[in-house]
């Protein structure tokens, strides 16, 4: 055979291989395109409102270890939480996730730790936990983020069954455990926490929810003796405890100041807390959800005085006068009347409550006319948040759910352990459940606990991090409101607390004038993007923006040249910061 002949045969074989590869590649593309088209078709041709970003895409491979045991120790089912925070101040939201750890009833057989993920700015994250020095090591519950020393760098308190941990940001990508030095080594079992300035001295103080009195020697067997199954006990069988308020002394230390106040006298089983101003007096109040005992509404009367008015304000008990299993909470002016409304999630059969502010330190439960009661009848709610997901200017609501008892399906025909997420759109005068139109993720069920809200890709649409018990977290990218405009604000206090918690933001765009209070906390065991995203709807420019900085400043500043569809830093007394 001539060389020319052999050469052609070889060339033909190579060509065939190439063609085969091209064919395979094309098939793959068509297949993936088909999948995209199917998903898009389900959503009327658009990407889903909330799109699940898998670990393979995000790089968030951490998984929560829920230490589930035969004995079913109660702490196992309560966590975990997570946070969006910009720990390195590069303008991109990073993620912190809390894990369990060794305690009196749990000895991990493999290393488990919390996780800090650095945002790579391309939709992916890198685990920097060890480098940052925030691995945890306690039986962690949740996290609250706040710049308590006003140095511009966010710090973190990690609550726990056991001692909590205060991580001070060293401003170089690392943190230091300053718990003991700061004087916030709260023992017992702490759950949600919130940073807020209760005495208006310009420094963030700290409130820690305390759950029940628990320990290995206090564990109670709840279950079916005959066949030896244990259930997670209902918290009713454990003693309540007082939550804790710490005053920021301004020197890196804190002093417990709840003693002698209603905060100490209020014996509860606290799981969720939000700092807000329910009576518009400029003093931040606290709404605390408590499990199987009444919820508490601590009204800040100034000068260190707190008045608990949960019963009188009609947010403490159900309409029948029963305490419910309060877990997640939030506050926002959902009806746009200038007054902060409240929300609390409970367990199945109890229904969740949406409390409309009556403007006289009382509230009315309007969950039923807003479709929330019926939608939540068989659900147990934890992480939840009011936020404007589609930037139309109105406050919407997201609920993350899951039953606390993993045995529930053995004795209930309709209640499940893993439960669906819920999304409610604000139509102006009421909320509408739009879950079934908002993406395939709403057809899935999760053992959800924490929920953090933050814009991790800086596109002006607030994304979500659902933190699951015993499973991987779920990162949800928000694709909604593509035709709506927005203004992103990072407020920086100078006289008031640096995070500007308590600031009142008002704005006008198009024909709408809206306002918002910068609350703190809310959800369950979780912390959120400190920036504010103001939805403008179809308006392409902001007519004006007004910021009333919280006390001790009280300064009111008005702006007319705030750029749209981007983030802007506004510094108290100095205007818009140059980027």
């Amino acid at each position: 055979m001539s060389n020319e002949t052999r050469y052609h045969r070889t060339g033909s074989r190579n060509l065939l291989l190439v063609l085969l590869l091209l064919f395979l590649l094309a098939s793959l593309c068509v297949s993936r395109l088909g999948a995209v088209i199917r998903v898009a078709a389900q959503n009327g041709g658009a990407a889903p409102t909330f799109e699940e970003i898998p670990p393979s895409a995000s790089g968030i491979t951490w998984v929560h270890d829920n230490a589930m045991s035969e004995q079913r120790y109660l702490p196992e089912t309560l966590g975990p939480g997570g946070a969006f925070l910009d720990y390195d101040n590069d303008g991109w939201m990073d993620i912190y996730l809390v894990n369990y750890g060794a305690c009196d009833f749990f000895k991990p057989t493999k290393p488990i730790r919390n996780a800090l993920y650095h945002n790579n700015r391309d939709g992916t994250f890198t685990d920097v936990t060890e480098k940052a020095g925030v691995p945890g090591g306690t039986f962690g519950m949740g996290v609250a983020v706040g710049d308590y020393d006003n140095d511009g760098w966010p710090d973190m308190i990690v609550t726990a069954y056991g001692k909590c941990t205060l991580y001070h940001n060293n401003r170089n990508g690392t943190f230091s455990d300053v718990t003991d030095k700061a004087g916030v080594a709260a023992p017992g079992w702490t759950t949600s926490a919130v940073w807020f300035d209760y005495d208006n001295d310009g420094r963030l103080d700290l409130f820690l929810c305390s759950f029940v009195q628990y320990g290995l020697n206090k564990h109670i067997f709840c279950g079916d003796n005959k066949i030896g199954r244990h259930y997670y006990c209902i918290p009713r069988v454990f003693n309540p405890s007082s939550s804790l308020l710490f005053h920021n002394n301004g020197d890196g230390t804190f002093t417990e100041t709840g003693k002698g106040t209603d905060i100490e006298r209020a014996l509860g089983k606290a799981l969720g807390v939000v700092a807000t101003d329910i009576n518009n007096d400029g003093l931040m109040d606290l709404f605390v959800a408590s499990d199987t005992v009444q919820n508490f509404l601590f009204v800040n009367r100034g000068n260190g005085k707190w008045e608990e008015i949960g019963l009188a304000s009609e947010v403490g008990f159900s309409a029948n006068g029963q305490p419910r299993s309060g877990m997640g909470v939030d506050a926002a002016d959902f009806d746009g009347d200038g007054w902060q409304d409240l929300f609390v999630a409970n367990v199945d059969q109890e229904m969740f409550s949406l409390y409309k502010n009556n403007k006289d330190e009382t509230f009315t439960d309007v969950a039923r006319p807003n479709g929330v009661a019926e939608a939540t009848r068989l659900l147990s709610g934890w992480g939840l948040k009011f936020f404007d997901y589609d930037n139309d200017g109105k406050i919407d609501l997201f609920l993350a759910n899951g039953h606390p008892d993993d045995m529930i399906e053995q004795y209930s025909g309709h209640v499940k352990y893993s439960e669906p997420l819920l999304l409610f759109h604000n139509e102006g005068d009421h909320l509408v459940n739009v879950s079934d139109k908002s993406g395939p993720v709403f057809k899935k069920d999760f053992p959800a606990r924490g929920l953090a809200v933050g814009d991790y890709n800086n596109d002006g649409r607030l994304d979500l991090l659902v933190v699951n018990n015993g499973k991987a977290p779920v990162l949800l990218r928000n694709n909604a409101g593509k035709d709506n405009h927005w203004v992103g604000l990072k407020l920086q206090g100078t006289k008031c607390n640096r995070d500007a918690i308590g600031a009142r933001i008002s704005w006008s765009a198009g024909s709408a004038t809206r306002s918002r209070l910068k609350t703190s906390g809310g959800s369950y065991l979780s912390a959120h993007d400190v920036r504010e995203v103001l939805g403008l709807g179809k308006a392409t420019k902001l007519d004006w923006l007004e910021i009333k900085w919280p006390a001790p400043s009280g300064k009111v500043e008005r702006f007319t040249d705030v750029p749209v569809d981007k983030y802007t830093t506004i510094v108290e007394g100095r205007g818009i910061a140059a980027n």
């Binding site: 079916d224 005959k226 209603d262 005992v293 009188a312 008990f317 006068g321």
Partner: protein, 410 residues
């Protein structure tokens, strides 16, 4: 034990009781407390007492109960303030079904320590044995409120069982069910539990021993369904209820019981069962109330109203009916009428926390702030008390009294 000895013991106990115990209706407020350690004996008497008490304990532990009683009595003659001695005398008499003697001995314990939960519980069991059922329930419930009964699970279970059947007998069916259901959750399928549950969910106000013999099969079938319901064995409960319905479709409260079972997971189906119950017994007040309250839960006050009204018409002396109607009227904007209904309910059940809560809400709506505050305070006090009775002191939260307010009068 000889008749003479027994006679002497009874007289001694009774005489001592008279010197210590307050009259029956006041005995919970007996102020006299004398720590057992303060015997006030001289050394010789103390030595004799020590010897007798040790001999009594040894006799008791050795099963020589006649001898034990005699020795305890002798020791108590020396030291009548020996609480444990009275306790042992009481418990031995109880075990021998000598309820009257046991009662007297236990009253002596309570004369020395009126917050002794175990003594109150055993006293209640004695009253049960003597067929003083109302007093029995009162004493056992008080013991449960104190929350310091003997750690013996058997003892606690006996007290709880008796609380459950006594509440059923007294028509407190919901509370009775709460007391009995934990037996099911613990897997206790004994005939006595099944029977007690059956009487309870059929709303038959009898003790098991009083149950009509011709209803035994019905009671046991209902009890088994209730057992599975309480034990959260869903499929078995469903089967058992279906069998019960098929066998006894026309018996009052069978559809009602099934409706209660369905209420949690299938409220619409539950409403259907309650309506079927009303076809059998048109004035079945619990069924009327369940429908009314379910509509209230759904904020459907227009649909709730006719059922609530009918409940009041059928049972004007039952506070729960006024609670339902009052709440409906309030939400329909008829504040004055609502207050009237709720005030009636409070008058009928001044110790009902639910009534106080509802009335407080109505007063607040009417702008009667002081009245609302008063009712709220009463609600909190009663809620704490009831919750403690039902589930123990650890189940109660809320604002602790300030030091100056501690130990408010009972």
């Amino acid at each position: 034990m000889t008749a003479t000895t027994a006679h002497f013991i009874v007289i001694f106990i009774a005489v001592f009781s008279l010197t210590l115990a307050a009259p029956a209706q006041q005995r919970r407020t007996a102020q006299r407390k004398q720590p057992a350690s303060e015997s006030g004996l001289n050394p010789q008497q103390q030595a004799a007492f020590n010897k007798l008490s040790q001999q009594a304990d040894a006799a008791r532990e050795g099963g020589r109960l006649d001898e034990a009683i005699q020795l305890y009595i002798q020791a108590l003659q020396l030291n009548p303030k020996w609480k444990d001695g009275w306790w042992y005398v009481g418990s031995i008499f109880y075990d021998r079904d000598s309820y009257s003697d046991a009662r007297e001995a236990l009253r002596n314990v309570l004369g020395l320590d009126d917050k002794n939960g175990s003594a109150w519980a055993l006293l209640g069991l004695c009253e049960f044995g003597l067929r003083n059922y109302d007093q029995a329930l009162s004493d056992i419930q008080y013991a449960r409120t104190l929350g310091n009964m003997s750690p013996s699970k058997e003892f606690v279970n006996v007290a709880r069982y008796h609380a459950g059947i006594l509440m059923t007998r007294a028509g407190q069916f919901e509370l009775g069910y709460e007391a009995l259901r934990d037996f099911a959750r613990e897997g206790n399928e004994s005939p006595s539990v099944i029977e007690a549950l059956g009487l309870n969910i059929l709303r038959m106000p009898f003790l098991p021993a009083e149950a009509p013999p011709d209803r035994r099969e019905l009671i046991l079938m209902a009890g088994r369904a209730a057992f599975y319901q309480a034990a959260r064995r869903v499929q078995e409960a469903e089967r058992a209820f279906k069998e019960l319905l098929s066998r006894y479709p026309g018996v009052p409260n069978v559809h009602y019981a099934y409706g209660v079972y369905l209420l949690i997971d299938s409220p619409d189906a539950a409403l259907d069962e309650f309506r079927r119950e009303l076809q059998i017994s048109p004035d079945n007040v619990p069924a009327l109330l369940q429908i009314g309250f379910e509509y209230i839960k759904r904020n459907d006050f227009e649909n709730a109203r006719p059922y609530a009204q009918k409940a009041v018409d059928a049972a004007p002396n039952l506070f729960a009916t006024h609670n339902a109607l009052g709440r409906v009227l309030l939400e329909l904007g008829k504040v004055g009428e609502a207050i009237k209904e709720l005030e009636i309910g409070v008058k009928q059940a001044p110790d009902s926390p639910e009534m106080r809560f509802a009335l407080a809400h109505a007063y607040a709506r009417a702008g009667r702030k002081e009245d609302a505050a008063r009712e709220r305070a009463k609600f909190l006090e009663l809620d704490k008390q009831k919750r403690t009775e039902r589930s123990g002191p650890q189940s109660v939260g809320g604002i602790e009294a300030k030091p100056a307010d501690k130990n408010p009068p009972r």
